[in-house]
């Protein structure tokens, strides 16, 4: 199929009329079609080259998935699919689920199309070419404002009738100045409503200048994180899917981590004030996220039980859903609070202020008196980055080597937090180092962190299940079978946790092996002559 758009504002009827004067044609009007294009908030379908469109036909919905190789897989559903798991039949869910995962298939934009189908025929009444004129409008997902699209002409050449194809396209080009395009209908609609696929990702994509003053670079990092916080606000309060809260919460935690780790670049009172406020915000997101995690784990919990015991978990699911509702409304109140709005507003004002090192005014709760100049505000960012990463690495090394067979779970938890801080720092500053040298370093820390994460996760799940069991007991909200099933799960979790614990030394010795230390030292370590001074400097802080 060749695709053209009408350049000028030619009424399609005029095109049909003039075409009919030159070629014998048969014309058929096509019914109006209202298409909604779906994608996840992080554009996972678009990134994977998939297009998901739904069209309402009476009480049913036609679902059309276009795959990377251009195949269109159709199906009829009773309702518009909200998640990949709602799609049917195979292979639709099998294609979309690994891409979209648990994310909601949000309606991103709508298109309304009418069509005129034209067959060009020869004296025998045989079709020698076909074309379809698509006249459409685009509407953003909130339904506000309809935008006219340039009419599109799809030309379907028929095998063995190349001469006719050439004659028709030459006519269209000369008479109507049509332009050959490749853009899909979805792309034209996204463009018209101002959407650019790929404009959101939960990772920071920064390009820092190694020589830039630390305060400015830190602000760049914080602005990137603030954009993530703001982007996820709506999806979080509307509970579109669990990832909004996850990305929001992670960005808040990374903000806190950046404030504490990239220290001495902002005035201390400013840093302290925002640290306190973001700690408050982080604490508000915790409970709802914890419940999300358990809800996401339910399918795995069910699978871990004997088939006959699976339904016994339903009271737990109900309890979690009730709790989620309560926690979410608490979180919504927080997001709509003056304190939250003020925090984000003040933070943006501070970050966008190019002066950099000045203190925030009384409005933000900071001190009005002249603040002392931050120690390292003007130090080149790469110097600050390397020293902070090196310090964080040494800390992980030191703490990890102290963990023995009988160390409490708490020590492993603390080590996990230190690993997390180190990984955040590596991510913040990754543009300052060559990617091929940084990748193995990130892989090593990720490996250790994942292991500690799994261990800690199992401990937290066990504690949480115990807590839920007590609640269920007290409220008598479930039969004993539920408690038995939960007990069974706790037993399994404990077994897994012991196994993870046994593996700690393997993982840690891998991380702390000489080769990895050399990698860190080469990238972030102090110069040999300053090596001796660095520890004493650090102690002074």
């Amino acid at each position: 199929m060749s695709l053209f758009v009408l350049r000028e504002k030619t009424p399609p009827d005029e095109l049909v009329k003039e075409l009919g004067e030159v070629f014998p044609i048969e014309v058929r009007k096509e019914p109006k079609e209202r298409v909604t294009y779906h994608d996840t908030f992080d554009w996972s379908l678009d990134r994977a080259g998939l297009t998901l469109a739904t069209t309402r036909i009476g009480r049913q919905v036609r679902v059309a998935l276009t795959t990377t190789d251009g195949r269109v897989l159709d199906s009829i559903a009773q309702n518009t699919p909200e998640f990949a798991s709602d799609l049917a039949p195979a292979p639709l869910p099998g294609i979309v689920e690994p891409v979209a995962k648990h994310r909601r298939l949000l309606p991103r934009a709508r298109g309304e199309w009418t069509g005129i189908f034209i067959s060009i025929v020869n004296p025998d009444g045989k079709a020698v070419g076909r074309l379809r004129i698509r006249i459409g409008t685009a509407t953003p997902s909130n339904g506000e404002g309809e935008i006219d699209l340039a009419p599109r002409i799809e030309f379907f050449a028929l095998k063995g009738y190349n001469a006719e194809e050439k004659r028709v396209t030459a006519f269209l080009k000369e008479r109507f100045r049509v332009k050959r395009v490749k853009r899909s209908e979805q792309a034209a609609i996204y463009d018209a409503v101002g959407l650019s696929p790929g404009d959101y990702t939960s990772s920071l994509r920064l390009k820092l200048d190694p020589e830039a003053p630390a305060a400015g670079a830190a602000k760049q990092i914080h602005l990137g994180l603030l954009r993530i916080i703001e982007a996820n606000r709506e999806g979080l309060t509307r509970d579109w899917d669990a990832e909004f809260l996850h990305d929001f919460r992670t960005a808040v935690r990374r903000t806190r981590s950046a404030l504490s780790q990239i220290r001495d670049v902002f005035p201390p009172d400013v840093a302290d004030h925002f640290m306190k406020e973001f700690r408050w915000l982080g604490s508000k997101t915790g409970p709802a996220r914890d419940i999300d995690v358990y809800l996401l784990k339910i399918p795995a919990y069910r699978a871990a039980l004997y088939p006959s015991a699976r339904k016994d978990l339903e009271p737990l699911v109900r309890l979690l859903k009730e709790k989620k509702k309560a926690e979410l409304s608490r979180l919504r109140r927080c997001i709509h609070s003056r304190r939250f709005k003020k925090l984000l507003g003040d933070w943006r004002v501070f970050l966008e202020d190019s002066e950099g090192a000045e203190a925030v005014g009384s409005e933000t709760g900071g001190s009005e008196t002249e603040a002392p100049a931050p120690l390292r505000a003007n130090t080149p960012i790469k110097e600050v980055a390397s020293s902070r990463i090196w310090a964080a690495f040494r800390k992980v090394q030191k703490k990890g080597s102290r963990i023995g067979q009988f160390s409490p779970a708490e020590d492993l938890h603390k080590l996990r937090l230190d690993c997390k801080k180190l990984r955040y720092l590596l991510r913040f500053f990754q543009s300052l180092y060559p990617a091929d040298a940084l990748d193995p370093v990130i892989r090593e820390i990720k490996n250790l962190q994942d292991h500690l994460g799994d261990y800690n996760d199992l401990q937290v799940q066990r504690d949480a299940l115990r807590g839920f069991a007590e609640e269920i007991m007290e409220s008598k909200a479930a039969p004993p079978a539920t408690l038995l099933a939960m007990g069974q799960l706790m037993g399994q979790l404990e077994g897994k946790q012991h196994k993870e614990r046994d593996l700690f030394h393997d993982h840690f010795s891998r991380f702390s092996r000489e080769r990895n230390v050399r990698r860190f030292r080469r990238l972030f370590g102090p110069e040999p002559d300053t090596d001796a001074q660095t520890p004493s400097k650090r102690k002074k802080r």
Binding site: N122, D124, G125, K126, A127, L158, K159, G160, Y161
Partner: protein
């Protein structure tokens, strides 16, 4: 690609109607289908409103120089293409005779199309010749429309003998009754007639109907103008029967 040839050396028994209607049904089922009109009369080409002309004609075809892919015409139906007939095919036999291993020529020339189509229907001319032998060697199945008369059965027996002599063991021979007129006594006894033939008949019978003749007036497959008619339903039943066999016999969508 699986190859089905509609063949009978008696004329006017419904070979072309069978090829055209079955090919249409196969394409509607989603199979990428090609019809090759090898009959110089060009009836299948006429039904699809395509000019019966092939540049190079029989001479190039017999020499193996004909680029078949470049001669294909799209029909008015999705997934259904046609290789039109050419009047020069009337002496294709003589041209083939000059070729090396003429009995393998059709198979050889079809090779480049094997990946492009799932199914090929060859509409053969009513004769027995080098051309038909070459078609037999290329085909998986011979669909033999048979009018329920003693003479027709006699030609069917002759065909079976020819195939046996040629040693074409892998070729499936599927006779079925066609143009069956229940008002005639002879036509009512098709079961008895079938017993005289050593290969089983397909279960479906195509009734005699003027609607099938109307295909020539309308220049289109039966289903496009008389979908619910008796002969249309009979062709559907026939297609199910053959389709089942094709899928059982390793499936026409998968065989290369």
């Amino acid at each position: 690609m699986r190859i089905l040839a509609t063949y009978n050396f008696k004329g006017g028994v419904g070979k072309t109607a069978t090829a055209v209607n079955l090919a249409y049904l196969a394409a509607m089922d989603g199979a990428k289908t090609l019809v090759w009109d090898l009959d110089p009369q060009g009836a299948a080409s006429f039904y699809f409103r395509v000019k019966p002309r092939v540049k190079g004609g029989a001479r190039k075809l017999a020499k193996g120089d004909l680029n078949l892919g470049g001669r294909i015409k799209a029909t008015d139906f999705e997934s259904l293409d046609l290789l039109p007939a050419d009047f020069s095919y009337r002496h294709l036999d003589l041209d083939l005779d000059k070729a090396k291993k003429p009995e393998k020529q059709i198979s050889r020339i079809l090779k480049p199309l094997r990946k492009e189509y799932d199914l090929l229907f060859i509409d053969c001319a009513p004769s027995i010749s080098l051309v038909s032998e070459s078609v037999f060697r290329a085909s998986d199945v011979l669909l033999v429309p048979t009018v329920p008369t003693p003479l027709s059965l006699r030609t069917l027996l002759q065909l079976l003998k020819t195939v046996r002599k040629a040693g074409l063991k892998g070729l499936g021979i599927f006779p079925f009754f066609c143009m069956v007129d229940r008002r005639r006594t002879l036509h009512r006894g098709t079961a008895d007639l079938a017993e005289q033939i050593p290969v089983p008949f397909l279960g479906t019978e195509i009734p005699y109907s003027s609607l099938v003749e109307q295909m020539g007036l309308r220049r289109a497959p039966l289903h496009t103008f008389a979908r619910r008619s008796k002969p249309a339903l009979a062709y559907e039943a026939l297609w199910y029967e053959i389709g089942d066999w094709l899928e059982d016999g390793s499936g026409y969508f998968t065989k290369g």
